[in-house]
């Protein structure tokens, strides 16, 4: 699965996700990537794209949940993502991760697996590329 979240000069956030699904899937199974609120979500405050075991991401409405925490609580986007990925999702048994941005351009990355291919360019133009924990 791949994904991207961007904040443009007009303050608009877009989140996108694309995937080949899971190896050996049957029955027309569909995971979270095309499900708005599970694998992808964007509001004026927050945008998130996810990658992981889709069934759990759907049940936890992961990307919507992160944006809801940002909107309705004092959590910043990193705290919100960590709460969902490392607490809620772990309790369900789901593994994977998320990336995201808030309206100020703060970058969020959170995952509960050994690694996640990821990269960012922040509001100061700093480029970061990481693979492992």
């Amino acid at each position: 699965t791949v994904g991207a979240v961007a904040l443009d000069v007009n303050g608009n956030i877009t989140a996108g996700t694309s995937t080949g699904g899971m190896t050996n899937k049957r029955y027309g199974r569909i995971g979270d990537s095309p499900v708005i609120g599970a694998g992808t979500y964007a509001t004026p405050l927050c945008g998130v794209s996810a990658t992981g075991h889709g069934e759990y991401f759907i049940r936890a409405a992961v990307t919507h949940d992160i944006c809801a925490l940002v909107e309705y609580t004092d959590s910043n986007i990193q705290q919100a993502a960590d709460t969902v990925i490392h607490e809620k999702l772990v309790k369900l048994g789901g593994d994977g991760g998320v990336i995201g941005l808030d309206k100020e351009g703060n970058i969020m990355m959170s995952f509960n697996t050994e690694g996640m291919y990821r990269g960012s360019i922040d509001k100061d133009g700093k480029v970061t590329i990481k693979i492992y924990k």
Partner: protein, 181 residues
């Protein structure tokens, strides 16, 4: 206003001990190419939607990632791709599921967002919509990669005896990540 971009290429059992330096550099270079493609659009005043599509298309066209060209195989040896996109300014969203001939599903998802009153289209219907909106279609062979095919064969071989797998076999990332959907 600030501009910023963040991308991912999938999460999972990714360990340094299983990666050659050359492969790691290949991944890093492709991630950077994706980032730069999106960021250049943002720097030139382009929209976040265009930036997200540009960044994702680079990764969809690479065999390194499980999307587009590098997609994994289903039980029946086919490729079925999903994608979605959502924009904050009007909460518009588009998604496609189970498409098999769309070269870049993220572009089709965005067409669903902008050119239809719907949010999600699936399988043959989504591909019919792609044809009507001139989204590039490809033969299924385009998605074939040897690595993903071998992953499927390994999983198919191990699936019936899953309960009898040794501890080492069960930890194999191909088996662990198959999830037997």
């Amino acid at each position: 206003s600030s501009i910023a971009l963040v991308i991912h290429g999938g999460a999972g059992t990714i360990l340094k001990k299983n990666m050659t330096d050359e492969l790691e550099q290949t991944y890093r270079a492709k991630l950077e190419e994706s980032l730069m493609a999106g960021y250049q659009i943002l720097e030139n005043g382009g929209s976040s939607t265009e930036a997200v599509k540009a960044a994702i298309v680079i990764m969809e066209n690479s065999p390194l990632f499980n999307a587009g060209k590098g997609s994994v195989f289903t039980h029946d040896g086919k490729n079925e791709l999903d994608a979605s996109i959502m924009a904050s300014h009007d909460l518009s969203a588009g998604a496609v599921a189970g498409v098999s001939h769309v070269k870049n599903p993220i572009l089709l998802a965005d067409k669903v967002r902008t050119e239809s009153k719907h949010v999600m289209m699936a399988r043959e219907g989504a591909e019919e919509f792609a044809k009507e909106h001139n989204v590039e279609l490809v033969d299924q062979k385009y998605f074939y990669t040897q690595r993903r095919w071998e992953q499927l064969q390994k999983v198919l071989k191990s699936t019936p005896q899953k309960s009898q797998l040794s501890e080492d076999e069960a930890k194999n990332s191909d088996v662990k990540n198959s999830k037997f959907g």
